[in-house]
Symmetry: C2
Subunit: 366 residues, 2 copies
């Protein structure tokens, strides 16, 4: 049977070991006689799963003690409203600064306008979202309520290669970061950010779980219209158990965190991700048959959009890729072409198989 490699942008490939353990434990978790899905979230069994998941994530990202880790629902699109609803209560008239780097930050800008005054401090629109605007070109607002960036644009395939310093230009505004599609793929210094959030369905686990890492002094500033179930302070005060959390998704995320630790943690994953991305980009840069349009120093290690120069071959490319076990390579409809998402759980062998297939396809159709 052909080995399957799944390049979906999310929900995305999970480590096989994690799925095997989940299957083995499905009917009876650790001799409890229950599936994790059947456990009361307030029982000792699930509490141990929740505590381990939070602690392992804290270890993996070296989250400082003055940051809370919250497990939420609603995904990145939900968080686009939940972030301003949680931060705008203190100074509702203050301006929210955004850096517009692609599809996801664009959605965040649109949604935030419901809850405050919005200023786009820099935009890569003129480049067709193939660059990250350099920090020097950002036109930040003094006394901004906060500054929002998306450090990896899943659809456009651009990624921040730096942690921006914004304090001097904003009088110390909090930096809010959507890390949905590259969290845990590279080392970060959490203390350089103030709020980090992300949907789980790329590098963490199943869709339906959202992670937020929030500096404690930013809790308690919600707008009056913020639903209790999405109020970070209420969620933090209740250990992410104010409403019933997505227990099974948290369990799978916990298994992924354990798997990451066995792989050597985020530093080791980053080295693997650099090697995987290099293999694919080097090939793309070596051929005229395919093309990646992102500026080299803004390229994402996670999401690699590319185009066949002859787009009339797209359908046959996708069909032959699928026949070779290379799944979900179709690009996002707003960009077109192809996209290979090569998250943590994608092994080097998957990228090698993709490049080999692309070479052979190019040879046959040149």
């Amino acid at each position: 049977m052909t080995t399957i490699y799944n390049f979906s942008a999310g929900p995305a490939v999970l480590p096989k070991e994690v799925l095997q353990q989940a299957a083995a434990e499905m009917l009876d978790w650790h001799g409890s006689g229950m599936s994790v899905m059947e456990m009361s979230h307030r029982g000792a069994e699930f509490m141990s799963i929740m505590d381990a998941a939070q602690k392992d994530l804290r270890d993996l990202l070296a989250v400082p003690a003055n940051y809370q880790i919250l497990f939420l629902q609603g995904g990145g699109l939900g968080e686009n409203a939940i972030v301003p609803m949680n931060l705008m209560g203190k100074r509702p008239e203050a301006t929210i600064d955004f850096i517009h780097t692609g599809s996801w930050s664009g959605k965040s800008i649109k949604e935030a306008q419901k809850y405050g005054k919005v200023h786009v401090a820099a935009s890569a629109a003129a480049s067709g979202f193939t660059t990250i605007p350099p920090r020097a070109e950002w036109n930040l607002t003094p006394d901004a309520a906060y500054v929002h960036i998306c450090t990896n644009e899943t659809i456009d395939g651009v990624e921040f290669q730096f942690a921006p310093e914004i304090a001097a230009d904003t009088n110390g505004a909090p930096l809010v970061v959507d890390m949905s599609s590259h969290i845990l793929s590279r080392q970060i210094d959490v203390s350089k950010y103030d709020v980090i959030f992300g949907g789980a369905q790329k590098n963490i686990g199943p869709a339906g779980l959202t992670i937020a890492i929030v500096r404690e002094d930013l809790l308690g500033h919600s707008l009056p219209v913020c639903p209790s179930a999405f109020d970070w302070k209420i969620i933090a005060d209740n250990g992410s158990m104010y409403n019933t959390p997505p227990t099974y998704a948290i369990y799978i995320a916990g298994l992924v965190f354990q798997w990451l630790k066995r792989q050597g943690g985020v530093a080791a994953m980053e080295q693997k991700n650099i090697a995987k991305a290099k293999l694919l980009y080097d090939y793309l840069d070596s051929t005229d048959f395919y093309e990646n349009r992102v500026e080299k120093n803004s390229r994402s290690r996670m999401n690699v959009p590319f185009f066949l120069k002859d787009e009339s071959l797209n359908t046959v490319f996708l069909a032959e890729a699928k026949a070779n076990g290379l799944l979900q390579l179709k690009g996002h409809k707003s960009v077109g072409g192809m996209r290979a998402s090569i998250y943590n759980a994608m092994p080097m062998e998957g990228v090698q198989a993709l490049v080999s297939f692309m070479q052979e396809f190019a040879r046959q159709h040149s």
Copy 2:
């Protein structure tokens, strides 16, 4: 090995057949080479799972064609805000009527006050929430924005045995129903309600999925502050795919729906649930060792709170129950005592085992 019966109030027991199928399909769903967790929500494979789940739920509840079935996130507590945010845009000054029947409707009342004027049209507080106030005693508001009821109170163990008529007293206000903890356990006429919602983690599937069934003409009346990701009209227009849905939870829910159909559907489940509840309540009424305090015609078929007359025996009761494979019987902290939740997936044998244990425990400690 002792057979395990899990009486958790939620997340709760699931049909063993469903868990077995989920385990078997975990690494490779229907020859796709992917786990359901790894599938793009927009791919053909997951779309077929989503479509089947929606269609099966529509069949099971005979949902009329002018109602949309929405798959959401945020649970019942989330919906306490999401309901008024979706319904109050048309007439923000109108009054929301509530029937206060216990813990859950109490939480709904508190949260709704953020979004509109609230009137408690009837309350069972004086009885300690052991009754459902008869319809004749409701003091409804003419031209109410909507009327909110919770037809099964998970914590207090009371359940509506009737579908209230409210049109005449309210000039046709919509009737909104929280059915979280008894949906699919008894036959209902959906057309007698206007919005039905519920968290999945009792009779449907894993925590993290919320179901809403909304009459179509009620879509599009959201408040400006309603987050897009929780705006029913946007969710309906996007087939519950505006943001990435909780795909694995939807898959499990779909397997539960298929299981329900194999059991003979809701009508057959209702007969089983009547028999299970009768066995337990009949025993409780026959003994002085235990007590259920709910008025007989308001008793829930799903959640049966009970007390040992000698509460000093609580700890040993729970320990011995667990040793006999009877799990998660501790009552909610706000009520105390014990609680047996006997949802669809609890077989008659589980209730028989519970009653036998209770009889033996009473004999030994009388």
